[in-house]
């Protein structure tokens, strides 16, 4: 077997190709189904507010979509593990758990690409083209963190049903309750520290900042970045050290 430092990269791309590209090529409708769901809340908020909350709705929908794709990785991993025994094959091979996780996470991202492109375009439209690097960084930070969390959670699930339930619960905690779809200003002061402890709050605030929405005085872009990076590193460490690759 050739020992090259690029092998993990190749493994990631091949796993994404097998579970994402090949699936989509033979089931193109999957792309349509996955693309529509992130716009449901955006549509409701837009209609109910008469367009007033469009910025919050766009930021919230993008964050919620990324949380969904990250956590959906957990569902896919549980499915592959319990129904197909795919993980058994990968565990007993030269593929590392991190490589497996990143490959499948990339595959999830492919499914969400149309929705992400539309939502990201809306963010740039309401902000500016100069904010694209910041937007890409925000997307990658939250997607990476959520994928690592999804991988960690799924590795401890022995049944597909448990995985779905836990992941739905975490989705509500991360994408619905915190100020992702609404302004931090409506949060009672006593709950603000709690909201700042959630990574998705910062992702939404960063997107709001890009779109020119005033952000809280006690929050800054640097603070948001620092928290997001800290969560990404923490969740990757969690996935790398505490996810059950080999069962015990």
């Amino acid at each position: 077997m050739p020992e090259t430092s690029l092998l993990p990269v190749r493994q990631v791309l091949l796993i994404a190709y097998m579970t994402g590209v090949l699936w989509l090529r033979r089931n193109p409708m999957s792309l349509v189904f996955t693309a529509i769901s992130p716009f449901s809340l955006l549509f409701v908020l837009f209609v109910v507010s008469g367009g007033q909350y469009i910025h919050f709705a766009v930021a919230g929908s993008l964050v919620m979509a990324l949380v969904g794709y990250g956590l959906a990785l957990g569902q896919d991993i549980s499915f592959y593990k319990t129904e197909y025994k795919v993980q058994d094959v990968f565990v007993a091979s030269p593929v590392s758990p991190l490589t497996y996780m990143v490959g499948l996470a990339l595959s999830e991202l492919l499914f969400g690409l149309p929705a992400l492109l539309v939502l990201a375009t809306l963010v740039v439209y309401f902000g500016s083209v100069f904010s694209i690097p910041l937007l890409v960084a925000t997307i990658l930070l939250i997607w990476g963190a959520m994928s690592a969390l999804g991988f960690f959670l799924s590795s401890h699930m022995l049944h597909m049903r448990n995985a779905t339930q836990v992941i739905s619960f975490v989705n509500v905690i991360l994408a619905v309750l915190p100020p992702v779809f609404y302004s931090m200003d409506v949060m009672p002061d006593v709950l603000r520290p709690l909201a700042y402890a959630v990574p998705t709050t910062h992702a939404s605030l960063m997107l709001q900042d890009i779109m020119g929405i005033p952000t809280p005085a006690d929050w800054s872009l640097e603070f948001g970045f620092a928290i997001q990076i800290a969560y990404l590193l923490a969740f990757i460490t969690l996935a790398k050290t505490k996810a059950l690759w080999r069962e015990n």
């Binding site: 077997m1 190749r10 090949l22 197909y84 025994k85 058994d88 094959v89 069962e247």
Partner: protein, 309 residues
């Protein structure tokens, strides 16, 4: 060299009160086909999964190809390949997609992967369906995809956990041929199976486990000696007196109205005369591994006293 050296291995699952594997020690020689036989739930898959670095043992040590399966799992994983029990290929992917991409994931170049994929798909006779998504293939074809993925690799040790389950007799023989080819190239195999003919056809060494413990082991010739007699006579039960049959050897109730008598050549004529007198069907054959297994497990043995000689 040893492919596997397990010493005092015990596995107790968290939710279980009884160990799935109890203090098992065994050595698998490299370049051999080593078979684990046992009833459902005997602990075969648990043992395989521990050796294949998928499951941690509760105690004991397992060395695979010279590396510790717990502390040096990465080295072990570079050298092994598996067919998991009850595995399934991905629905939308074709046999070619599975094998070709899997080989590249394991480090083969595109051209090497292409050549090996073609050889293995042809060997297992799924080349004709190479471009059909797995969801359109039969259960047997799906199983052969998993076998092809494992056997097309350059791994030194192959774990095959019931690899021919669901295959028709012709397909089973194709897999057997592939397994023998693998061994002829110096590869080692740890096989679990429920099919006695498969174990008999392929195994260099067999271990029978029950309730997590080794209850018998040896080559096929050695295991056959577990039954003192060398001939078996299957005879319809009907009105025959079991006590009369016991005088010829060990009698086992095989169900479906049949009795099996383990005996010697010298008793065959008398038994056949007895069956003919009662107008009963009967068959005579040599003792097989299936008989040994049933005999060891004690299933339906009415009497295991030696036959008169």
């Amino acid at each position: 060299m040893l492919a596997i050296d397990a010493i005092g291995v015990t596995k107790v699952y968290r939710s279980a009160s009884q160990p799935a594997i109890k203090d098992i020690s065994l050595r698998v020689e490299a370049g051999k086909i080593f078979t684990l036989l046992g009833r459902n739930g005997a602990g075969k898959t648990t043992f395989v999964r521990m050796c294949a670095t998928q499951l941690l043992p509760t105690s004991g040590t397992i060395s695979v190809l010279g590396y510790d399966a717990v502390r040096q799992a990465k080295h072990v994983r570079d050298l092994i390949s598996i067919v998991p029990q009850e595995g399934r290929p991905l629905r939308a992917l074709t046999p070619w997609d599975h094998v070709y991409n899997w080989l590249q994931i394991r480090g083969d170049s595109k051209s090497a992967a292409r050549d090996k994929t073609e050889v293995m798909l042809r060997k297992l006779e799924i080349y004709g369906a190479r471009d059909s998504p797995a969801m359109n293939l039969s259960g047997g074809m799906k199983q052969k995809i998993l076998v092809a993925m494992a056997m097309a690799t350059d791994a030194q040790l192959l774990f095959l956990d019931e690899p021919t389950i669901g295959l028709d007799p012709v397909s089973r023989r194709q897999v057997w041929t592939a397994i023998k080819d693998w061994k002829s190239k110096g590869g080692s195999i740890l096989l679990t199976t429920h099919y006695m003919d498969e174990a008999e056809m392929l195994s260099d060494y067999i271990v029978i486990i029950d309730k997590g413990m080794i209850i018998a082991q040896g080559t096929i010739q050695e295991l056959r000696k577990v039954i003192p007699q060398n001939i078996r006579v299957d005879i319809a039960r009907d009105t025959l007196d079991v006590d009369t049959l016991k005088s010829y050897g060990s009698v086992v109730d095989t169900g479906a109205g049949m009795l099996r008598i383990f005996t010697f050549e010298s008793a065959v004529r008398e038994l056949s005369d007895l069956a003919l007198r009662h107008n009963l069907s009967f068959t005579v054959s040599s003792v097989t591994l299936d008989d040994v297994f049933v005999y060891i497990m004690g299933n339906g043995i009415i009497d295991d006293q030696n036959a008169r000689d």
